[in-house]
């Protein structure tokens, strides 16, 4: 019974839990409940992934109505993989918010229980996007996650959070509306909203031009959502001024899920042939991603607010993922998908560490962080490991992604691209090292002198993420293995 409804439970559990959070109200209580729900969701996704790896595809018809009439939920290796790390990171990040003296303190006490509600809703939205097999349903869940994240960002303590959230809202809504237009046009051409069904009918449908435009709108819309350069302008402010926990969660998951939608549309709905051979999407994506990597990395170097710096770095890292996708080869896709996962871990860990810093310093300004490595050695050690992952030093997860990316480039004899990827990681060295140098080798700032180590309840989740970065930097059979399966499914190497 449970096994059959696993797909539905994945969404329904956090969905139902969200309003219950309002009823609980008391901080410890609501935290315990929400964390439990998150871990439960994670557990389900683990079972689901194993199931998918066994059978290849798990499908569920919502309400018992078969597609194309009803809404179908389906999980293939890619979606199961995304579900896994989104729910996992969601659970880890939320675990840190528990007792007194954590990053949750950035949010006024009177609103903390609502934070949990929004958090769970956002999680629901992200999971829903990943799991659904219905185009319009994607839009609905997209809006759930988006609306809740506007609220979450608006919770940020500084007033800059408000315009940041507003800007995100405007751009996000434009993106969503573009996606809606795309969906509408697709529906017009095929008469169905089910993705698998649509992929089949698209081949029969004549009307290349409409499909082309639909494709364009979907790509631009998703591009905004995933902060693909140059559509990224909402992201740095949103990440910089949101509460640290929110940043950690969103940075690790939200853009990743958007990349997932892109993969889904491009490979599952439109098909490689149409997207890459007819349209030459590869060239466009490659150009934009490389440009994005360089520009965003360079901008990151000049930031003084470290959360903002990491946000720009995220824009650059999205570039790596898209670059991998743009190769449209198995290795390239593995690179893109595995980087989804690896970067989620790395950025999650880094922003969690920033949460610890924020908690103790009340600032994430580089000047204030001088000498903090001596006062908060565990926090900053975690940051340093995460930073190394960002650069792609061997034995961290970042290296794995880079390795696949370079291999993908070399396999197709794109020398220049391989070289550019490597050069760009040197830019990461600069912005990461600036922080390491300041934190460990400079004389402590006034704020740093008064700081002390972050509480264990924050350090533990941070180190779980950072530890995972190291673990998946050497043990790649899980991450790269599943990514490989996912890539094969997307490219229809195996049915």
């Amino acid at each position: 019974m449970i096994k059959q409804n696993l797909l539905a439970l994945q969404i329904v559990i956090p969905l139902i839990a969200a309003p219950l959070c309002i009823l609980l109200r008391r901080r410890a209580l609501v935290w315990g409940f929400a964390v439990l729900v998150c871990w439960l969701t994670f557990g389900i996704s683990v079972v689901l992934l194993r199931q998918v790896l066994e059978t290849g595809l798990v499908s569920y018809e919502m309400g018992g109505w078969a597609a194309p009439w009803g809404i179908e939920y389906r999980a293939d290796p890619l979606s199961a993989f995304v579900l896994l790390f989104v729910s996992g990171i969601g659970a880890i990040v939320l675990s840190s918010a528990g007792l007194k003296d954590t990053a949750l303190d950035e949010i006024p006490v009177s609103r903390q229980y609502l934070f949990f509600t929004l958090y769970l809703l956002c999680l629901t939205g992200l999971l829903g996007i990943t799991i659904t097999g219905d185009l319009f349903n994607v839009f609905v869940f997209l809006e759930i996650s988006a609306l809740s994240s506007y609220g979450l960002i608006g919770l940020g303590g500084r007033r800059q959070a408000l315009p940041a959230a507003f800007q995100y809202l405007v751009m996000g809504t434009i993106g969503a509306t573009f996606i809606l237009i795309g969906i509408g046009l697709m529906y017009m051409m095929t008469g169905t909203l089910n993705m698998a069904d649509m992929a089949e009918r698209l081949v029969m449908a004549d009307g290349g031009r409409t499909a082309l435009v639909a494709f364009g709108f979907l790509t631009v819309g998703i591009g905004i959502k995933m902060a693909l350069f140059p559509l990224h302008i909402w992201l740095p402010n949103a990440y910089a001024y949101a509460p640290s926990l929110v940043t950690a969660f969103l940075a690790a998951t939200a853009t990743k899920v958007s990349v997932y939608i892109l993969l889904r549309f491009v490979f599952s709905v439109f098909g490689v042939t149409f997207a890459f051979e007819t349209l030459g999407l590869g060239g466009v994506l490659m150009f934009l991603s490389l440009l994005g990597i360089f520009v965003a990395s360079t901008v990151a170097i000049f930031q003084t607010n470290i959360k903002r710096m990491l946000a720009y770095s995220s824009v650059a890292q999205i570039g790596y993922m898209v670059l991998g996708i743009s190769f449209a080869s198995t290795t390239g896709l593995v690179a893109g998908i595995v980087h989804l996962f690896n970067h989620a871990l790395i950025k999650g860990g880094l922003f969690m560490a920033m949460g610890c810093v924020m908690l103790r310093l009340k600032s994430v300004d580089i000047e204030d962080m001088a000498g903090i490595g001596r006062k908060m050695p565990f926090t900053m050690a975690a940051w340093a490991v995460g930073g190394l992952g960002l650069i792609g030093i061997p034995a961290t997860a970042g290296f794995i992604s880079k390795w696949y990316l370079i291999r993908a480039a070399l396999e197709q004899n794109w020398w220049i691209v391989a070289v550019m990827v490597l050069i760009s990681s040197l830019l990461a060295v600069i912005y990461v090292w600036r922080v390491i140098e300041t934190a460990f080798f400079k004389e402590p700032s006034a704020r740093a002198r008064e700081a002390r180590e972050a509480p264990l309840s924050m350090l533990l989740p941070t180190w779980v993420l950072v530890g995972a970065t190291l673990f998946f930097g050497v043990m790649t059979s899980t991450s790269a293995g599943v990514a490989g399966r996912a890539a094969e499914v997307l490219l229809r190497v195996i049915p």
Binding site: V140, E143, L147, L169, I181
Partner: protein, 119 residues
């Protein structure tokens, strides 16, 4: 050619409306006007969907004796959902505006940016 013009005329109008809304969003500096623009943009997309569903000579999809041709019900269903989503977005946006006004004493984008530069 003329066939095309008549067949697609409705779409073109809808496109014009959508683009007007889109233009308001990205060109206006006043936050409320941006929201209005978003609203118009979204409403126009709803019109697009409804236009898709229209069947020549059909009638509203309420099953009753004497009618055989019905307009496609699915777009209507979708748009009912989308309208609600639109309003939800609008309300969050407006709430944000209220708070921004409290924090910055203005709802003009340029002035907010100017204040940020100073602080």
């Amino acid at each position: 050619m003329m066939d095309n013009v008549f067949g697609l005329y409705n779409y073109w109008v809808v496109i014009f409306l959508m683009m007007t809304g889109f233009y308001i969003v990205i060109s206006q500096r006043n936050l409320i006007k941006k929201v209005i623009g978003l609203n118009i943009f979204q409403t126009s997309v709803f019109l697009l969907y409804i236009t898709i569903g229209k069947v020549e000579g059909g009638t509203a999809p309420i099953v009753s004796e004497g009618f055989n041709v019905y307009t496609n019900p699915l777009p209507s269903v979708l748009i009912l959902t989308a309208i609600v989503v639109g309003v939800a977005t609008t309300s969050v946006a407006l709430a944000l505006i209220v708070r921004i006004r409290e924090a910055y004493e203005t709802i003009e984008e340029d002035e907010i940016l100017a204040q940020e530069k100073l602080t």
